[in-house]
């Protein structure tokens, strides 16, 4: 790279930088939007079902049934509404005001006393929300198991279950979903800055015709691309540092790994994110199409196909295959590990390589398309 090239690059970067600072939408996307998103994912999106509203139908009022009822109402996972008949709770169930109900049948205590019968407890969950239904079933199950253990101490009616499962949750003992949702959401924020902002800004230059003006100057295509990248790289890193500080200080997410690995991973992730933004804007040259395309190709995959909330293993195989070319997938996995586990270099390294490859592909295609335009 000769001196002239460096000088041109510097001029481009300065021009781009001023443009960024003067444009309110850059500030909105780079600073305000990350804060809004962190707020939503920190408070609004939570998979911690600890106040599930359920009903309890006590058709049997014997001490046995009462004792089980107490163990349910004492559970920290449930807000229990108690009724005598199913009819009382059916309306609430249909309206979605309770997520399920537990029925202790009238013959509960009678069956319990007999050797040849096992007393049933019916657990009815609202399947119209499958995840919550799963949690209703699981939490009732664990409340029931606790009750069994307590009962076996106080009465000889009850045999202790032979095999008991003792779950241990590593890295996130309190099971706060915020601890992995916030690191994951940083990937979405970085995608927005890298892809949406870059796509909008560059396509605006095409729309207004200033891109052609730039191309008629001695600036080469590589210089032009690099000149666009540097300011947004800086903005991206700035937002990342800001978001991490907010995540740690405001949301108490533990950072068990090092800042160095966080910065490294972000630096590498911005490569494909910015690359995609450049590619979209170069291909579409219109702000509306660029915005829609970055939503469909950038934001949605980062949200849905990255494993941030939705489990990749549960997706059908064609979609599972697509996730391998989504850079956010590797970024989410690295971020969650760096925050909750620590610097696991083996995992980080295996995540860095695909991000670099995808990034290089985007840049190569962008450079190819742009060169053609000059002919």
């Amino acid at each position: 790279m000769d001196m002239g090239s460096l000088r041109r690059l510097k001029a481009l970067v300065i021009k781009e930088f001023f443009q960024m600072i003067r444009d309110p939408s850059s500030i909105l996307i780079g600073i305000i939007l990350p804060l809004i998103l962190l707020f939503i994912y920190g408070y609004g999106v939570s998979l911690d079902a600890d106040h599930i509203k359920i009903g309890l139908v006590l058709e049997d009022t014997s001490p046995d049934a009462q004792s089980f009822a107490t163990s349910l109402t004492n559970s920290r996972f449930f807000d229990v509404t108690v009724g005598r008949h199913r009819k009382e709770l059916d309306g609430m169930f249909l309206a979605g005001k309770i997520r399920g109900y537990v029925v202790i049948p009238s013959y509960f205590s009678a069956f319990r006393q007999r050797q040849d019968n096992i007393a049933p407890i019916q657990v009815i969950a609202d399947g119209s929300e499958p995840n919550t239904a799963n949690f209703v079933q699981n939490y009732v199950q664990s409340a029931w198991q606790n009750w069994l253990s307590q009962e076996s101490i106080s009465s000889d009616l009850q045999g202790l279950p032979l095999v008991r499962a003792q779950p241990r949750y590593w890295f996130n003992e309190q099971l706060e979903s915020r601890n992995f949702l916030i690191p994951g959401s940083l990937a979405i924020i970085m995608t927005l800055i890298g892809t949406l902002l870059t796509a909008l800004v560059v396509s605006r230059e095409w729309e207004r015709g200033t891109m052609e003006a730039l191309m008629s100057t001695p600036v080469t295509i590589v210089e032009l691309l690099v000149g666009k990248l540097i300011p947004y790289y800086i903005l991206g890193m700035f937002s990342m540092v800001m978001s991490v500080v907010v995540a740690i200080l405001v949301y108490d997410v533990p950072l068990r790994g090092s800042w160095f690995s966080l910065i490294l991973v972000t630096f590498v992730f911005l490569l494909p994110a910015l690359g995609l933004g450049l590619l979209i804007s170069t291909a579409s040259k219109s702000q509306i199409v660029a915005a829609q395309a970055s939503m469909v190709a950038g934001f949605l995959p980062a949200f849905i196909l990255s494993g941030f909330i939705f489990e990749i293993a549960s997706m059908p195989w064609p979609i599972r295959t697509i996730t391998y070319i989504i850079p956010a997938r590797y970024f989410v996995s690295s971020l969650q590990t760096i925050f909750l586990v620590g610097d696991n270099w083996r995992l980080i390294l295996f995540n860095l390589i695909p991000m670099i490859i995808v990034g290089l592909i985007f840049f190569t295609i962008t450079a190819k398309i742009s060169v053609k335009r000059l002919d």
């Binding site: 939408s25 996307i29 809004i36 939503i40 999106v45 939570s46 998979l47 911690d48 106040h51 509203k53 169930f93 249909l94 979605g96 997520r99 319990r112 096992i118 049933p120 407890i121 019916q122 009815i124 969950a125 609202d126 399947g127 119209s128 929300e129 995840n131 239904a133 799963n134 079933q137 699981n138 009732v140 199950q141 029931w144 069994l148 009850q158 045999g159 202790l160 279950p161 032979l162 095999v163 499962a165 779950p167 241990r168 949750y169 099971l175 992995f180 909008l200 605006r204 702000q287 949605l300 849905i304 196909l305 909330i309 939705f310 489990e311 293993a313 549960s314 979609i319 590990t337 083996r346």
Partner: protein, 369 residues
């Protein structure tokens, strides 16, 4: 007046459908989203790889391990050679759970004594981990019921009978597709209206409209009605795709659904027009749409339930029309919800619609002065 509004409506619909880019915006993203969302946005847990660390070589532990092979939830079961293999297995996300059986397991069971099993779970994915733990607990419970009489231990005297109503097999897209009717209708309704005024402003055709005999209120109506028609049409397509392609059961009344959809779309069009009056350029309109959309979807109960939010934030969700629409959609599709419960969810949307439409009109007029 009627004449002028009608002319404006026809012009708007033609403008929305004629422009190639605008057509792309209306048609492609919702379809892509419907397909990706309904298949991929799933909190379902299946095909998850797990590990088993069996330090006991007795018959009882092998039988227990076999039962995990039989479950459709666990696709791949890796046998770990030693305790040391457990940490890298979980750390490197090779599997979400390790079932750890200790040396005494078979001996304890044969003696009729209780035995513990450790489930080590990856807390980085706490939702999946908890559901996996639930499945494991159910397998172990069934094992208990089968094994206890054989070794002469006392059987527990009660059992749980789990049932899921409205969706017995907990198929996730039965939940997803009805919700997407609301989410995608909102997206399209919002984009169409938010862009409409901003685009005319940017192109300068808005001034031409203003010098014509059309009054501002007529312009508003002329912008609102086409957007509502497009939004309702988009919603209908997704409803049809849901019923005929995805075969999601439709238990309720189609008339009730359309009544709710109409009120819902009105409230969304109000928000869209508000954003539109506020923004000077299309880019601002896009950003405004996004800034409204992401909290509205996140705080609707679509991705995660509203009960999980802190109480003060739950109050905020009362202002979100999507919240009510999702209850109606799930209710009408899966539960066969009756009109009285639906009405309870329609009137809040009606209030929101009146509020958004009138404040959009107010802002629109104010910006003209």
């Amino acid at each position: 007046m009627f004449h002028r509004v009608l002319a404006l409506i026809i012009k708007e619909i033609l403008a929305a459908l004629r422009d190639k880019k605008a057509r792309f915006v209306l048609i492609v993203p919702p379809i892509v989203q419907l397909l990706i969302f309904s298949f991929a946005a799933t909190l379902d847990v299946k095909n998850v790889p797990i590990g088993i660390l069996n330090r006991d070589n007795g018959e009882k532990s092998i039988e227990l391990a076999q039962r995990f092979h039989g479950s459709p939830v666990f696709s791949e079961i890796v046998y770990l050679p030693s305790v040391d293999a457990m940490t890298p297995f979980i750390d490197n996300q090779k599997g979400v759970m390790v079932l750890s059986i200790d040396q005494q397991f078979s001996r304890n069971i044969d003696a009729g004594k209780p035995a513990d099993i450790q489930l080590v779970l990856d807390g980085r994915r706490s939702n999946t981990a908890q559901i996996v733990a639930g499945y494991a607990a159910r397998i172990i419970e069934q094992y208990n019921l089968d094994i206890a009489p054989l070794v002469g231990a006392k059987v527990q005297s009660t059992e749980l009978v789990p049932r899921n109503w409205f969706n017995p097999n907990l198929i996730y897209y039965w939940y997803n597709v009805p919700c997407l009717v609301g989410v995608l209708t909102m997206l399209v309704g919002l984009v169409v209206t938010a862009m409409s005024v901003a685009r005319e402003r940017e192109m300068g055709t808005f001034d031409q409209l203003l010098v014509s005999p059309i009054r501002p209120i007529e312009i508003m109506i002329g912008k609102a009605i086409p957007a509502m028609i497009i939004g309702m049409a988009e919603g209908s397509i997704i409803v049809l795709v849901g019923i005929f392609l995805f075969r999601v059961p439709f238990e309720g009344n189609i008339f009730v659904l359309y009544m709710s959809l109409f009120v819902f779309v009105s409230s969304i069009v109000g928000v869209g027009l508000f954003i539109s009056s506020l923004s000077a350029t299309q880019q601002q309109a896009i950003l405004g749409t996004f800034v409204f959309m992401s909290p509205a979807v996140a705080l609707s109960g679509f991705a995660t339930p509203i009960e999980n939010m802190p109480q003060w934030l739950q109050y905020v969700t009362y202002a979100n029309p999507l919240r009510y629409m999702l209850v109606i959609l799930k209710g009408v599709f899966l539960k066969g919800m009756t009109l009285d419960i639906v009405l309870n969810n329609i009137w809040p949307m009606m209030i929101i619609a009146i509020f958004t439409l009138s404040s959009a009109t107010w802002l629109f007029r104010k910006r003209l002065e």
